[in-house]
């Protein structure tokens, strides 16, 4: 088959959807399929594997002269997103989309764009990796968006996500939570959405765990880690509050925060003002996360909203005790009390108490991590994920994969 993997998000990227797309492309090629990857960049759209670029400024002036006097321009985020998305439509159309046996988009925005320009006979699979509307809600609530008209913004993303999901022949979600959200927000029929969890190359991950880096565990300390984006919805502010309380009663830990994001300087300030200056280490974005996980005792995912973060999967495969919030798809990743702990979302006190407990009882913490690893080795395996994905491809295309 000839398959197009596409996304509206910027690629290549250290985290996010890129590693998943790259690995899927690799595994499909290994089975003899041809794969192209199409995605976004600040200045162009591109077919990454062919290094073929479509410069946005060649398309945007004509589009803008037709939209800049419409109500869309009343909201800068809506206007610029819509112009950018329309450029994706125009550039994607020139890829000769009729040549593909399947188009697999990794977000609702690109699904809508591709659906508008593809020939009807080419099947389209949409694979959102989170709730776009949910993220917009949280961004609005946290006043992180430069907009004075949040109602228009909310209506726009709601309409765009709904059309993106429903424009596709079929949808894929990694969690039952996301399937439920799509059903509730947009009345997407149950039969339109398949659900199976992500998978990672566990053997490769384990090998990377043994590659040393400069990280050293301080003597007599246990390591609490978070890895991911530094944005409001990841709830790092909740973790820092919990650590502040933890420090009052014990100092046998250090917290490693790995990643980058718009809120990083805010979190550095928060850590300092809570007196956590030397207890929290900001490592920045890293490509050697497996090594950090190897040195981690407790992994924390304190998100306010999250679908199925890769870092929680990696922490389980590494054998860490994992604490997640009860947000969105996170509880589906944990058997509470057995492979990890689920704490109420946005509840720093509960998080503090569970961290204290896990630090206090070594045997329980170590057994929890071992059990998570044992279960995770199959549940999060790449072989299982690929089998599920190829089965779905076959179902959507009617062709053998």
């Amino acid at each position: 088959m000839k398959i197009l993997l596409a996304t509206y998000w910027e690629i290549p990227h250290l985290g996010g959807v890129w590693p998943l797309m790259e690995r899927l492309a690799h595994d499909l090629r290994a089975r003899g399929h041809e794969v192209d990857i199409f995605g976004n960049n600040v200045h162009y759209y591109h077919l990454v594997n062919q290094q073929r670029r479509f410069i946005k400024s060649h398309y945007s002036p004509l589009i803008e002269t037709h939209l800049n006097h419409t109500p869309l321009s009343a909201n800068a985020v809506v206007y610029h997103t819509e112009v950018d998305r329309l450029i994706m439509e125009l550039t994607a159309s020139t890829l000769n989309l009729g040549q593909y046996d399947l188009i697999h988009t990794h977000d609702a925005i690109s699904a809508r764009s591709i659906a508008r320009v593809k020939p009807p006979h080419v099947p389209l699979l949409v694979n959102p990796h989170g709730s776009l509307l949910g993220e917009i809600k949280l961004l609005i609530d946290s006043h992180a968006l430069p907009s004075s008209n949040y109602d228009l913004l909310y209506t726009y993303y709601s309409s765009l996500e709904k059309r993106g999901i429903l424009s596709a022949n079929h949808a894929l979600a990694a969690s039952n939570w996301l399937k439920q959200v799509l059903g509730q927000d947009y009345r997407v029929p149950d039969t339109h959405v398949s659900v199976f969890p992500y998978g990672i190359d566990t053997a490769r991950f384990h090998a990377q765990m043994h590659v040393p880096n400069e990280a050293v565990v301080p003597p007599y300390k246990k390591v609490i880690t978070y890895a991911g984006r530094f944005v409001h919805l990841k709830g790092i502010q909740v973790l820092l509050k919990a650590l502040s309380a933890l420090k009052q009663i014990r100092q046998d830990w250090v917290c490693w925060l790995i990643g980058e994001g718009d809120n990083k300087s805010e979190y550095i300030q928060q850590a300092e003002s809570l007196g956590l200056g030397s207890d929290v280490v900001f490592w920045g974005a890293r490509s050697d996360v497996p090594r950090f996980m190897a040195l981690t005792d407790i992994y924390v995912q304190p998100s306010l909203q999250d679908n199925q973060p890769l870092s929680v999967i990696e922490a389980q495969v590494a054998g860490c005790a994992v604490v997640v919030s009860s947000a969105s798809g996170l509880p589906e990743m944990i058997q509470h009390g057995s492979t990890g702990v689920v704490v109420p979302v946005n509840d720093s006190d509960s998080l503090f108490r569970h961290l204290h407990h896990l630090l206090q009882y070594d045997t329980q913490r170590i057994q929890m991590g071992q059990h998570a690893q044992h279960v995770g080795m199959h549940h999060w395996s790449l072989a299982r994920y690929n089998q599920d994905m190829f089965h779905l491809y076959q179902r959507v295309t009617g062709k053998p994969v």
């Binding site: 002036p61 037709h66 320009v117 726009y156 309409s159 059309r163």
Partner: protein, 61 residues
Amino acid sequence: MRVPGQLYSNLFLTTSSVPELLVEDSIWNEVYHWLPKHYSIPDLDVIAPVLEQYKKQTGEG
């Protein structure tokens, strides 16, 4: 070659605010060749609720 953007006006449902705009014909001819017959900008299905809300907010059409 730079040509008037107006040559491609049938791709759009709205008028141009800069009718004298020049665009590269090789870029737009290729787009024009590949787009489906009934394709148009804007995407009315997506923006209809936005226009409706704007109308409610401002009383404008």
